[in-house]
Amino acid sequence: MSLIKKIITWARIKSPWILHFNTGACNACDIEIIAALTPRYDLERFGVVLKGTPRHADVLVCSGPVTKQIEDRLCRIYEQMPEPKFVVAVGACACSGGVVRGCYNVASGIDKVIPVAAYIPGCPASPKAIIDGVVKLLASLEDKEAKK
């Protein structure tokens, strides 16, 4: 691995910017994501910063079972993100549909619409679980880059 590439990988892993998108969740996972960013849990110590637009984001954090209304928008947001990009599904609904699995208006899982890199289970996923998931995602990226 060349030096430039090493530096790029290091920079990417040390400062993943996230975009939070509610794909029809009940708010429980969303407030736990925000709670993970506030003083008690402080996800920012891993360089994670919440951004407002998909064009600035490396990681798309989704919560919710993907309703029919949101499906097209989710694809569009995913396409707007620059490469390399990763999707994290937070909560039981985002992983597999949860309590609303099989309902007439939901796709039952983010992975039915876009590829997912990490699944964080829980109803809602606690901030500790979210931090664990994000850290594991970063570690796996480091491994992948090292193998190249």
Binding site: N22, I31, E32, R40, Q69, I77, P124
Partner: protein, 412 residues
Amino acid sequence: MHNSKDFKIPIGPQHPALKEPEGFSVALKGEKILGVDIRLGYNHRGIEKAAEERTYIQDIYLIERVCGICSHSHSTCFIQAVEEIAGLAVPRRALYIRTIIGELERIHSHLLWLGVAGHEIGFDTLLMYSWRDREVVMDILASITGNRVNYGMNTIGGVRRDISPEQSQEILIALDILEERTKYYIEVATQESTIIKRLSGVGILSREDVLRLDAVGPTARASGVKRDVRADDPYAAYGELEFKVITDERCDVYGRTVVRVKELMESYKIIRQALKNLPDGPIAIKAPRKIPAGEALSRYEAPRGEDVHYVRANGTEKPDRVKVRAPTLANIQAVKHMLRDRYLADMPIVIAAIDPCFSCTDRLIALKEQESATGKIISWPALHAYSLEWYKKQGIDFTALNKKLSAKGLTG
């Protein structure tokens, strides 16, 4: 409606100022808002239909997930209706525990709101402070119920977990910490000049408009309307507890902030009383799996306002119909009114001031014409005419009243 010189900008469904997917189409003239079209439905999951396909016990956990912030409100509201149909006498201890959890939830929701409101006006320090303090109440909820959100505390005929004397001691210690912090927030809200200047006179909703648009919860109480289900139609243990209904005459976002912060103090008072008077006895009674045929309407004062659930049972173990009317649905029309002729920069805080929860709100009803084979959806004027006709058949005539109201300009 708007001429070509006016500017129309779409906000949402994904937007940094919005925490949930919802769409606003804002017509602007310069910086002034001419009108707002609100587009809901991005969060519609079909929970009401799903509830009809599950048993009552499964429904408790499903209904709890209508909203992840006021989850206890929804499940209690639903269960009260089911218990009324089944004619169950819930043990007093269970009612007290429900009240305690309900108030703890109000504390967590109001602290959450305070942080979000601070964030929307660019006062992120307040967000970080109040969310840090919110963790105190989250810890208490986790230790009593086993989960931080979506507590799973209710069951038909009572509650699932008891509060031990050690736990009630724990709650009292936490309340002392929270009370001290809340006093600080009251100081911040009433003395910090940036907050007062930013929020005063923004999002004005007069008393008449509250009554006309049927706003509920802190939004109504901040306009001087004393509307609180806990006091008006006491459920759970509220009838036996003493508390004040906080109102404010300011009618703006600042008034709503003050009402919410002061309500926190009332919640501490309620919990202290409930823990002191916690009756002995069982926490649940055995409930039948099949609920006899009947229907009931239940009301609950959620942190955001009045929550209404309607349940119709048909004698089986599954409900025939469940209808949820969340407080945000009642308040969303007021937002439209509050934003008219205001500046675009006020929009995030005005929307946040009603503490909207769109996952609660997104319900769907399609009214189809009975006789037509195609199942054409009835238009709004046709539905209005039909309702007038229906009441006329019952012997109630609204035409004269409607004329009187429209002459006064009171109908939308």
